[in-house]
């Protein structure tokens, strides 16, 4: 062979180029995966049960425990090699009776607005909290206003999600500091409560909860924090412009308890050639308590389970050990993801690949990857295989909160990227329910995940 040919061959091998027959064999497998998911898929039936028979499953709740037991039982029924629970202590926070709030324009003249407590908030005093408001567009406004204008008031964070960003997760990322750190920061200036505009691009009446942190505030300095629906936020903002003296009252009796024991649910098909190389596929089993968590993240849970079911179903024997992990407590603590990575490290398990689905059960568009350039080149060489399924997005980016602790040099972390336009209509709100799921979209997501796992299993992580 000439030098050039040898060089080409070396480059080809190192870039994991396909031979025509590889391409053909792989496209046959992908076709089997997609066909089986769409014709005989189990993800939708699973999600129906998880959403409608169990429902919202906040960490530490009875429903979360039911979900653990259900997940274990369903994985055992798949007849895979191993199924087990991994103990993890999780925070327990309860919402208590349904919150309420109203705007008071004059004594006795009130307008109700929809709110909900942010996850982890302290309650209002018994009888509620009533005060004047000050509207801000973000944390940086607090410093400008200073304690003089904030003290004794409720701070109303009202920066909306930016509508002209195509990927709605970017718009979320540009706003969520108000929810996460608003109370901690406002308290430093003497605020006595915070109301945060819901992280929702749509104008509607659903308040959206989500995690928050008081940072290093002492207990006695913590102030109650609630989300208000986008329509409610616009109303409140409009009324404040007309009369800055209006009062706002809200009542919440949410509460934090001692940590309780819960579990990650893990199932494994042991690898036939490289059993000590682990590939994880997962979603999080916990959800917020307002809806039934069908999109966040029931979809990711059942899609991940479906990956292993599909491999069994089409008779594919993985070379590497494939684990499905149903993580506990992504929403308000990430304890499950951290525990899984900690245990993996302490046991010296070599996790070469991990994929999370936690962006809703909508039509899949592709994946984002936390990986090196050479991994991305390998992934890009597979693009033609995904074309028939309209999967086109393969770029560096975010993987997933639960798998991120598994990152180490040379391994690949990935996140499924479904269409994101509708996601924040439902995210952390009462309307995140099973009826907002389209069966085919959910199944296409599961097939797309299975296809990527198959390719990484077959060719390894370069």
């Amino acid at each position: 062979m000439s030098k050039n040919i040898i060089l080409t061959v070396i480059i080809c091998i190192s870039l994991n180029c396909f031979s025509q027959s590889d391409l053909k064999n792989d496209s046959v497998i992908l076709k089997k995966i997609y066909t089986n998911a769409l014709v005989n898929g189990k993800s939708y039936e699973w999600l129906d049960y998880l959403s409608n028979q169990i429902g919202g499953r906040l960490s530490g709740s009875l429903n979360a425990q039911k979900a653990v037991e259900w997940g274990k039982k369903e994985l055992e029924e798949l007849g895979i090699d191993k199924v087990w629970l991994q103990s993890v202590m999780v925070p327990k926070w309860t919402r208590g009776v349904t919150e309420f709030a109203f705007i008071e324009t004059a004594p006795g003249v009130t307008t109700n607005v929809p709110i909900c407590a942010l996850g982890g908030s302290v309650p209002t005093p018994i009888g509620g909290l009533k005060a004047s408001l000050i509207e801000v567009k973000g944390l940086e406004d607090l410093k400008k206003l200073g304690a003089e204008q904030i003290k004794g008031k409720i701070v109303f964070f009202n920066r909306p999600m930016q509508p002209d960003l195509i990927e709605t997760f970017r718009a979320y990322g540009g706003c969520v500091d108000q929810r996460y750190s608003g109370a901690a920061e406002a308290a430093k200036y003497g605020a006595i409560g915070v109301i945060v505009r819901s992280m929702n691009l749509r104008l509607d009446d659903f308040p959206h909860t989500g995690s928050m942190s008081y940072g290093d505030l002492k207990n006695e300095n913590k102030i109650p924090a609630a989300a208000i629906s986008t329509n409610g936020a616009d109303l409140l903002s409009g009324m404040l412009k007309l009369n800055p003296e209006i009062k706002f009252q809200f009542n919440m009796n949410c509460r934090s308890w001692k940590d309780v024991e819960s579990f990650n649910v893990i199932g494994q098909i042991t690898g036939s050639e490289y059993p000590n190389e682990y590939m994880v596929v997962g979603g999080h089993l916990d959800s917020w308590d307002l809806g039934d968590g069908a999109h966040d993240d029931g979809a990711g849970v059942v899609q991940s389970m479906e990956v292993l079911r599909l491999f069994k179903e089409i008779g594919y024997t993985p070379k590497r050990s494939i684990r499905v992990v149903l993580f506990m407590n992504e929403e308000n603590g990430l304890r499950g993801g951290k525990k899984y990575a900690e245990k993996a490290k302490s046991k010296g398990e070599n996790h070469v690949f991990a994929l999370e689905s936690d962006a809703g059960g909508f039509t899949p568009r592709g994946f984002s990857f936390n990986c090196d350039d050479n991994n991305l080149a390998q992934i890009h060489s597979w693009k033609p295989l995904f074309e028939p399924y309209l999967i086109h997005y393969f770029a560096k980016g975010y993987s997933g909160a639960d798998v991120r602790p598994l990152k180490k040099d040379g391994n690949v972390l990935a996140g499924l990227r479904p269409d994101s336009q509708r996601y924040f209509d439902y995210h952390h709100a009462k309307n995140d329910t099973f009826d907002a799921i389209n069966k085919r979209e959910l199944e296409l997501g599961a097939a797309t995940m299975s296809s990527l796992v198959y390719l990484f299993d077959k060719y390894g992580v370069k």
Copy 2:
């Protein structure tokens, strides 16, 4: 210049390659288009009115006339160069009182199932039509069974849409002959009625109407034809397996009337450089009568109107004459599309490009084109401009029923391709309503259409 450079330049010009500055200028315009559509868009508000204040607008109905007047008024308010109505005679068919049907397992023992008349069907006799059934999987089964087994019976067409096809329009194409020609063919074998499984990939309780034809059957040989919901079809099929002797009764008093006058609604921005080159963007103003036609095709109507509004809004002056056409009678006659093309031909108008949106208001994925290879090369050179908006699909294929009559050598016809997974959940059924529309998805479609029209206007059709 060397020969090679000259050749490269020629190839570059002929393929319409971009200079870096073209690419930059165009990407600025596209950004303006998308931002304006998402931040100040009018399509959603328009669709709200068309869906909720007017509603279903079958050709020849009062609502269709209201829609014509509304479309004209809204286009006039845009301050474009010309707005006019184009007269066209359309068929008029009315559903009458709501249809009903039941399965009779024994005298007096009945189970109701949801049906609706297919558009154009003759009514059942007064008092309904009751007979035994014969289930088939398609037109070809009729010949195998022959008149002996069909005569005097109701033929039940029950071939489902194929779930493993990724593009659902292909699955629709593989089934719709049952709906369109089922009655005409079954009547030839002596059937007295037909029931057709709804063209829907989901199992639910909505019957889906749609057009049908009796071909050249004489009036006295026409038999009534209805769609049954997918759940109803599965129930009926199951009961037939248990007892082939069960009877089916259905009652419909739909009716065809004389043709009536209606209109295409047309608006134009006259081209600044090539006023005699026409570029059409359109959707169809009529809809079926069961829902409010928000996806089919209210979405296409308001997206097409939005193209002209966006051009005005961002201050883009087209070189060519851009027309928005709101076609009448796509659903059951295509008279508007045919009339528009006929008039264009008779006036010698040179239509270089036409784009239709008639596949629902879901997240846009790209376009399919009825064009030559050199046009496709030109289009592919624009792909990088669309990447930030996750628009990735540019392939030869179907344009749209209304614009298809405009096809001639050298021009380009195109169809917007939105995500198709949910489309047939709503198509021609009672649940095709405004609440199934996501504002951002609709707006992204309008911006994507505007971007393509802008590029074809700027560079011309090569």
